[in-house]
């Protein structure tokens, strides 16, 4: 589904990623863990085409998308749930979701998809006409995930979905993520909450200071000291 090869990224002249390699198989859930500032968000943004200064390859279903403008990459079946949710605050929940289905392929089915999203997140359904900016943090996160699902992705990129949320809400979000993955959507999950992330995913990668320092099956990473050191510094 997704193959990242020797990816490097820069902010101006500051390098954020050093030759990172990563793979997500079809239907697989993979997590990317590491401390703040390790470059996890940069990696996700690079895959989605939101980060301009990139070298290496990002192959999605056989197509190398490095250098494509962001609005064309989504056409490859990728949708992003960005860090900090970034819902459109002055638009209603309903309009936020519709926007997710902006692409022609998704647009035709948008009513049906929306019904599915509401089934997954009943709380959103009740607030459909409310402005997104007035939702609580947890609801905004659900909206951001719902918006991405509206694009009918085959690969979902999630950047810290637990950020700033109370533990009960995180439980709810992760339950939904498990269900989404269960339907066959591949997931690349960036997370600080290592245990949650490893619980959802089959495999994981550890990124520290812009470099990939460990990878492997979830159970092994959970037991590993490397991860602990990687994250705690």
């Amino acid at each position: 589904m997704l193959e990242i090869g020797e990816l490097s990224a820069w902010y101006g002249d500051a390098r954020a990623l050093w030759d990172v390699t990563l793979e997500v198989g079809a239907g697989e859930a993979v997590c990317l863990i590491g401390p703040n500032g390790a470059g996890k968000s940069t990696l996700v943004a690079s895959v989605a085409g939101l980060h301009a200064s990139v070298r290496g390859s990002v192959v999605i279903d056989g197509v190398d998308v490095v250098g494509l403008p962001a609005h064309r990459i989504g056409g490859q079946g990728v949708a992003i749930v960005p860090e900090g949710r970034r819902v459109f605050p002055h638009m209603s929940v309903h309009d936020n979701l519709c926007l997710g289905a902006y692409r022609r392929t998704a647009r035709a089915r948008h009513r049906q998809t929306m019904a599915e999203v509401f089934e997954l997140f009943p709380r959103l359904s009740a607030r459909s006409a409310q402005l997104a900016g007035s939702l609580s943090g947890g609801e905004q996160q659900m909206l951001a995930i719902g918006r991405a699902l509206m694009a009918l992705p085959r690969l979902l990129l999630l950047d810290e979905p637990s950020l700033g949320l109370a533990p009960v809400v995180v439980d709810e979000v992760y339950e939904a993520l498990g269900e989404i993955n269960g339907r066959g959507v591949s997931v690349l999950l960036v997370e600080q909450d290592v245990d949650r992330a490893l619980e959802l995913s089959a495999r994981g990668y550890v990124l520290a200071e812009g470099r990939m320092v460990a990878s492997g099956p979830a159970e092994r990473l959970r037991a590993s000291d490397e991860v602990r050191r990687g994250v705690l510094g």
Partner: protein, 582 residues
Amino acid sequence: MMARGLVGIGLAVAALSTLSLYRETLGFPIAYLALLTTALFWVTQATSWNILSGYSGYFSFGQAAYVGVGAYTTAVLFGRHEWNFYLTVLIAAGLCAVLALGMGLLAFRLRSLRGEIFALLTLAVPFILAALARINGSIDGGQGIIVAIPDFPAALGRFQDFLYLITLLVAGIAVAVAFVMAHSRSGWALASIRDAEDVAEALGVATFRHKLWALVASAVIGGVGGSVFALQIGFVTVDSVFSLTVPLFVIVMSVLGGRTHWFGPVLGAVLVVLLQDRLSAMALLGWQPVILGAVLIVMILVAPEGLYVRVRNLWPRSRGSKTPPADLSEVDEQLSVVDDSVLVECRDLSKHFGGVRAVEGLSLQIRAGELVGLVGPNGSGKTTLVNLLAGSLRPTRGSIHIAGRDTTGLPPHRIAHVGVARTYQIPRPFASMTVRDNVAMAVLFGREPRRLAHARRLAAGHLAMVGLDHLGDAYPSALNLHQRQLLEMARALATSPKLLLLDEALAGLNPAEIDNAVEVVRRIHASGVCVVIVEHLLRVVRALATRVVVLDRGSCLADGDPETVLSDPAVVRAYLGKRAHA
């Protein structure tokens, strides 16, 4: 430097005055004198515009307001009521000062004011004044006012000579004021506002006051120029003085010449007036605005910095290239013993953004000798706390005392003068200044302000402290990220702070650079500055901090010495996830 420049301007004025005083001896045609008078009027106006808009970056479309107020003051009082002409010039200056104070007090108090809104606001002012003049019979009433020729010493020759000399005098004063401002604290303050206003404020620049005075200076010069302009045109109408061509001309002239430099508008004004003269000589007067408009568009797109700056940059810089000897004496003498007194005291501090509680009920004491590592997951309120301490944000609830003073709600520059300095996650140097001047700037406006020469010497010392002394003459654009972050630290140090807030000052560095930065922070702490460092890399925190404070969802989760805190199960959980202690 300053004295030499002023003498130069004085000599230029004297030389130009001979063209009139010895006109007949020199055989200088009087028609050219008229052209020069026009050029000098525009030099005055463009310089006036540039003092606010060029130096500080707040674009104004309101230049016609000053010309109009000046011209009408003289037209009404001198032209109609026959007061003393010179007195009316002073009154015009006073009225413009009052107008500018009113505009500035209203506009610059707005927290949400942006450059575009300011520009449109200034656009409205001449419209209001023009309407006022048109409807008010005691000002104009739509008729226009004839301005007679005032008495002047017969020795000056004809009226055209008198007009030329007085316009020259006004232009000379305008340029001298612009020159002095550019080379004084005020010029530095305005340049820093243009480059990064909130950084300047946090370094101790009283941005509101400097903007206000620049606006007043600009208005007074514009008004005096307008007052003399009334004589030049002889018949003052609303359309002739309040027209939109005034802002068009001054903007084109300043943008063309270069708006960051005092000489730019002079050059631009002369070029535009000459161009205008050539066009009318070729009977192309109808094309003149077309060409000026096109010049404006092209300059904005191609060389927004202006011709003067462009041309000057072609030559290697000679000015300021000699490195002043570093002055380490004061830096060293600050080496003090470990100080145990309470420096920072937050009580029940909260900050809410809409429904989000970024900081909630936080109480915290920091002692003068400490180096505190502030850690916590993303979104736990670390940066918000830094912003609260530095005054960039006002708390929703609670109080902050620093060095015994209640700083809650003080503007950032006042807090800087209490002794707080900060760096930014993404370095924000003043792009138009050299590395050394970035630091000298902070000394100029810091807690213990110094004269420029002294400030530059001290700056060299601060640069040495962070290991950037070899790059003093470079511009920030030539620095890499690590060096820019070190520059942030040197600049913060230059305000001679008691408390230094480092907000992710090591983000994005490679391991070698991180080690170097750690060394620098340690050195800064050893020089007697209390440091609070926000940092994600726990190995850095371990290496540096004498104490660690962990925030989680806006509240303090743990507080104590690094080893104990970082192995606290609750902290590990906050970082690694809920079941990590297992």
